[in-house]
């Protein structure tokens, strides 16, 4: 089309706007024609939609589950609590002074003093060993400070704070109460990585599946491609309908994936809220949402386009008139 002509051929007179319109027209034509082909081949199209939909729904569903778990555990996340057991030599007044001092630190939001007397009283009340304890000469329990770190402080920082407080000479031992929470968080991080890895693999799978579908479509229309090339169809012209085919398959797959995830969540909703009610929680499952579903559709479309591109660049150039 961009070949300069010596004699006034039609195209050299075609102005840019005309060319743009022609380009747009062919895009519309290709999009409509390939959509028509995709939809008229109902059974095989449905199969392709399902394969892509399931492959996409798996990682997306796991991700939604993880998001829900994160939301659930966010309530317990930081601040975890640090218990400072003070040395026996530290008196109740000194403990109170230390508490006031620590409260000034920016990374600490609150300090609660539990004196050895309070602790003993609580212990004797709860343990039922009141008589035994009363017979003791000395109170064996140390003074205790319960330190709450500032909200939003990360696990590592809380650990650092614990170490720092443990190094003070008044403190005999500093214990981070909720180490299990950090383990949970690490576990969640691990799960997220695993989901990402699975998702990556499945995405590659989707691209390959679509590439193969498009390759078959190209094979089926081999003669047509030869004819189009014979009468002067350029590579982009021949490529266009197949790229749209990939796009439609991808969209369809994304739609199926969004439906599957929504369906699963709907299926789980009742038992989950029942379980939450038993724990006095008003937790509800969070779904994909409109934006999430749209993103899934777009993702599917992009993957379809990628697969089609892969197939088209590999196979279309081979088909030349012989």
């Amino acid at each position: 089309m961009n070949k300069p002509r010596l004699e006034g051929a039609r195209q050299s007179r075609t102005r840019f706007a005309d060319r743009y319109n022609a380009w747009l027209r062919h895009h519309r034509l290709s999009a409509a024609d390939s959509l028509h082909r995709v939809l008229s081949n109902k059974l095989s199209t449905l199969m392709t939609f399902l394969v892509i939909g399931i492959a996409l729904a798996l990682p997306v569903g796991l991700n939604v589950a993880l998001d829900n778990a994160t939301q659930l555990s966010a309530g317990w996340d930081s601040p975890s609590q640090i218990s400072l057991f003070l040395r026996d030599s530290v008196t109740g007044e000194e403990a109170a002074a230390l508490a006031t001092e620590l409260e000034q630190r920016p990374d600490i939001s609150a300090v609660q003093v539990v004196t050895s007397e309070d602790a003993l009283a609580e212990f004797s009340a709860l343990s039922g060993f009141a008589d035994v304890l009363a017979s003791l000469e000395d109170n064996p329990l140390p003074n205790l400070l319960l330190v709450t770190p500032t909200t939003g402080l990360e696990g590592a920082a809380v650990g650092g704070l614990r170490t720092k407080l443990g190094e003070r000479q008044e403190v005999s031992e500093a214990v981070l109460d909720m180490e299990w929470l950090q383990r949970l968080n690490s576990l969640m991080e691990l799960s997220r990585r695993i989901v990402m890895a699975i998702g990556g693999l499945l995405v590659v799978g989707v691209v390959l599946i679509l590439g193969n579908t498009i390759r078959l479509a190209i094979e089926n229309r081999r003669e047509e491609i030869v004819i189009v090339k014979l009468v002067g169809g350029s590579n982009p012209f021949v490529r266009r309908p197949f790229l749209y085919t990939g796009l439609w398959f991808g969209f369809g797959g994304g739609l199926v994936a969004a439906l599957l995830v929504t369906l699963c969540l709907w299926f789980l909703r009742a038992p989950v809220s029942q379980l939450a009610a038993l724990y006095q929680s008003d937790f509800t499952l969070k779904g994909l949402g409109l934006m999430g579903s749209l993103n899934l559709l777009v993702l599917g479309g992009l993957l379809g386009l990628a697969g089609a591109w892969l197939a088209v660049t590999r196979h279309l150039a081979d088909i030349e008139p012989r």
């Binding site: 070949k3 004699e7 195209q11 027209r25 030869v226 004819i227 189009v228 014979l230 009468v231 002067g232």
Partner: protein
């Protein structure tokens, strides 16, 4: 319009399809190309269509040296040439209208213009009432006329035909040839490959004869 200068084509397996072929076809000429099968008729056509490139020598079409046409400009070159094939090369899953419209769609004409030109082309080949028919429901002669309509719909200045009457009976063949003559009379350069000597010698046009890749007759312009 079509100019061959000492053109040779040797295929990879060492077979010489054309040897030192030189000729010139002037604008508005109608020329027949004949010879036994394997003499190089198709190869010559393929060189003009840029389905192959010459091993040696120079092919000029409308003043353009085909050796200088880059790969990406081949489609543009093909749009300037109308081609009729022996086996029609129609899209059998599309109606006649769509088949004839294909070159116009490729060139990006708008729909009204496409409709107008397709009907004009179908009218010329006498198939205006068949525009909605599927190619398989047409006779061999009608299919060939659809192929011709497709070849001329873009108003090319060169029309190539490779054995256009190959499968047709004599009466239909001469009808098809009359069509080509009609296009030639409105200024289209026409090159027709045919081994139907009886038919083409009756038509009194210049004849190029190939034998084993060499041009043995008709090299000079009359």
């Amino acid at each position: 319009m079509i100019n061959f200068e000492r053109v040779s084509k040797r295929y990879a397996e060492g077979h010489d399809a054309l040897r030192e072929v030189s000729f010139e076809i002037a604008r508005d000429d109608l020329v027949f190309l004949t010879g036994h099968s394997g003499a190089g008729k198709s190869t010559l056509m393929r060189l003009i269509m840029l389905m192959d490139r010459a091993t040696r020598g120079k092919v000029m079409i409308d003043g353009v040296d085909l050796a200088r046409v880059a790969r990406r400009n081949i489609p543009g070159h093909r749009r300037d040439i109308g081609v009729v094939f022996q086996n029609h090369q129609l899209l059998f899953d599309r109606p006649v209208f769509d088949n004839v419209a294909l070159p116009l769609i490729i060139s990006g004409y708008d729909y009204r213009e496409v409709g107008r030109r397709v009907r004009a082309a179908l009218d010329k080949v006498g198939l205006l009432n068949k525009e909605r028919a599927m190619p398989l429901t047409l006779s061999g002669g009608e299919q060939q006329r659809v192929g011709i309509a497709r070849a001329v719909v873009g108003r090319p200045r060169i029309l190539l035909a490779d054995e256009p009457t190959g499968n047709l009976d004599p009466e239909l063949s001469s009808e098809i040839m009359q069509l080509f003559e009609a296009f030639n009379q409105v200024g289209v350069t026409v090159l027709i490959a045919s081994h139907d000597l009886a038919l083409i010698s009756r038509l009194r046009h210049r004849i190029l004869t190939l034998r084993e890749g060499r041009l043995v007759q008709g090299a000079a312009c009359e």
